[in-house]
Symmetry: C3
Subunit: 358 residues, 3 copies
Amino acid sequence: MLNWTIEKIAAFLGGEIVGSRDLTISGLAKINEAKPGEITFLANPKYVKFAAETNASAIIVGKEFEASDKTVIKVQDPYLAFMTLAKEWADKDPHVDPGIHPTAVIAPDVTLGANVRIGPHVVIGKNSRIGANSILHAGVVIGDHVTIGRDCLIYPRVSIREYCRIGDRVILQNGAVIGSDGFGYAFHEGQYHKIPQTGIVTLEDDVEIGANTTIDRAALGETRIARGCKIDNLVQIAHNVQVDDHSAIAAQVGISGSTQVGKYVRIGGQAGFVGHIKIGDKAIVGAQAGVTKGIPENAFYSGYPARENMKAKREEASLARLPELLKTFRRLAARVEALESRLAEQKPHRSDSDEEHT
Amino acid sequence: MLNWTIEKIAAFLGGEIVGSRDLTISGLAKINEAKPGEITFLANPKYVKFAAETNASAIIVGKEFEASDKTVIKVQDPYLAFMTLAKEWADKDPHVDPGIHPTAVIAPDVTLGANVRIGPHVVIGKNSRIGANSILHAGVVIGDHVTIGRDCLIYPRVSIREYCRIGDRVILQNGAVIGSDGFGYAFHEGQYHKIPQTGIVTLEDDVEIGANTTIDRAALGETRIARGCKIDNLVQIAHNVQVDDHSAIAAQVGISGSTQVGKYVRIGGQAGFVGHIKIGDKAIVGAQAGVTKGIPENAFYSGYPARENMKAKREEASLARLPELLKTFRRLAARVEALESRLAEQKPHRSDSDEEHT
Amino acid sequence: MLNWTIEKIAAFLGGEIVGSRDLTISGLAKINEAKPGEITFLANPKYVKFAAETNASAIIVGKEFEASDKTVIKVQDPYLAFMTLAKEWADKDPHVDPGIHPTAVIAPDVTLGANVRIGPHVVIGKNSRIGANSILHAGVVIGDHVTIGRDCLIYPRVSIREYCRIGDRVILQNGAVIGSDGFGYAFHEGQYHKIPQTGIVTLEDDVEIGANTTIDRAALGETRIARGCKIDNLVQIAHNVQVDDHSAIAAQVGISGSTQVGKYVRIGGQAGFVGHIKIGDKAIVGAQAGVTKGIPENAFYSGYPARENMKAKREEASLARLPELLKTFRRLAARVEALESRLAEQKPHRSDSDEEHT
């Protein structure tokens, strides 16, 4: 059971206490879920109203925050401070015993770095290398000729296929598949013929891959997820896709073959991309977007087919008015017809001028 | 080989036979797929025509069903009766031997209830508890400090991460992941920093989770699937999501962080939800809907962005008429222009009154 | 390290060399990615411009290809020739040792064909059969009473449930689940009651299933993927679905219960299908389509709800013009109103004829 005094927390965060110093904290929680004895934080001005309502015993706030009934700790960046505290208090048990579990099956020529932890029933194929301090949980299957860097965390039941390369500090959540065959066939004489998928997958340093996400090996060359990218659960990355540094991809996104995603791109959940297109740096793609062509740098695209977000929103708003427009249109057409009849009736009176002008 | 007389079936179901009693039944099937010797059922009036055409030897029908050439068994609720029979006849082999397979790796302080069955290569981490009669199939990986209730059925290759809590009679289909880290990062100085995901997942009693579905642990607190919920395959449930009692979620749905789904909600396949919204009790969400804001109780929403279903359908129908409208509009504009020209021509005749009014 | 002379390659492919014969080739690559020393191919006329720019040392081209600076090998079908070469040069290591790994758990009455390879920690249930030359990678779990044909390739962590039937030359990518329970419940007195899923899954000859794809067993009868079908990653196939010969289904598609997909159908990524509909032979379904009713043979459907592709595209194009239409419409309505006012002013001059006609 955690028990830090508010003074110990303030000292740890380098913050200033305003309010009662006679407090012991037993946990942390979000502002609207916290219970007495817990500390929370306030970073988003949208949540200021919760500062009065929260059951938390203390709040980490920004320097500019005004007095409150609660004890607060004032810091530069409340979110970062809260996160630092969360990391300090987080579960530090690696949940895998040191060394190699006797049920693991490791090919004789595998190279293991210092302090590697290998859980029960792990399999590591021939000529593979695992860097120092990396942790492989129960049931992980590593193929032949795979390289895994230092300080990696590979959760239960991940599988990594032959020849793939994993950088340092990579985290793979449960059930992720790295290096399955790409979906490549030649249709010939009434059947599909499999095209050998002879490339690999490269995950660079600091990449995290979500649970049951699948990343296909390249047909030729490599499928590459560059350093710092974060990919959520159940995402599909097809063969030869390139995702550049520090991009973030939410759950259930699908990216088709050979598409290139730039740096610092953010992609919302369930978005889909056709193959062979290029998404510019810092582009944002909305959830469920259907991306059928390239997206320029810094653009925000959404909808199906994906288009500039303001344009998509304008069209959606217009669509909501379309049923009414159809009715109004019919009435307007009737009014025009009435006008035409009226003018037709006038004709006898102006038959001469009519002829003159036609 | 199954062989029940029609009289044994009628007695078992508490139903009344109309037609020949000289029948032995060897299996059950859907009305349009049944073969001679099989029994089927008729619950949906839409399928009445199949009653004459089916190859089944007997049909379970409602009390009000009128005579047929076939032997029928009349019951209160034909679907329920059929299901009762299906359960009675279903494969009752648990497909896991009694006791603990010698290849399972179980931490010394694990608590196992009576009659637990543990298959080959199962791993159970320290301080975990498995309730009586629960069955863990081959290759299941249970982390440290996990609690699993009684009468659970956990299929091959499921993994449950540290500290998660599973109720009684829970069924987890193959490859489901319970308790993977939520997708939480703080972007700071050009990179994403992982926020520790220190919460858990709670699955309450009678929940069923589909194959390769992923349910992320909370950042803080719990991700909760309440009692009686049924979740299909390849669904993504993000951190801190709450799904209330007896809701049903079809395949490939994605629910973003902290969204709350009410009781008795039904969600169609591939629908997606943004985070931090609330879906009211008994709401229905159509397949592929993109839900961008909260939904009231009892409402039926569909489309992208999700809106009241009748409104969405009306807009879709209007859209189908839009190409024609654009053409008709151009013609109408031309007619208005013609009218304007005509009136302009009249001007010379009415120059005095024109001046008067402009 | 691969080292074939260009003459050896030409002889192997039955092609004709035009250009320098003094070349040794060390690998193959796509035309825009090839490096010196590699051979590439040119099949798509769209890429002709790359023939001059490529860094490849040689190109496999069609008979009609005109002279180039590069050495070329002329063949009937450049793509097929390249693929033949790729197969010849592909990794032929099965990555599983011959025989049965000592950690595999195989029920005593299992039948194994000649030359079967079984990797570490594989589990095979009672009364199952594995055909000759089939390879089961590490961590595969095969249930009881399963039949697997000859020359199958089953990658790590696949699970196949009880009674399912797999044909010859079937490939299952990592983490695929064959035979999980279908999503079938009867709602009765406030709760869902599970309907036993007593059917099976049949995968016929030459089927390939992608990573983490899930194929549910039938409620009754079978879920059937017919011969030659190719299914990509993270696809959901519900209970009692039928997919006919040689259809191809891209990643993250979801097909609901009892839907029938014809022969030679092609389905784009993330498309979804309601249950109980029929998709005609050779139909094409666009990516992300939401298919709510049957599709005729040879049709190309797309969008949500899915409709004939040209119609969908026309409607999407119209939608892009709708915001402008709404503005123009308001202006037109104002012009009609102006015309009406003008005619109303004329009334006094024509009061007699007006009365006459109203």
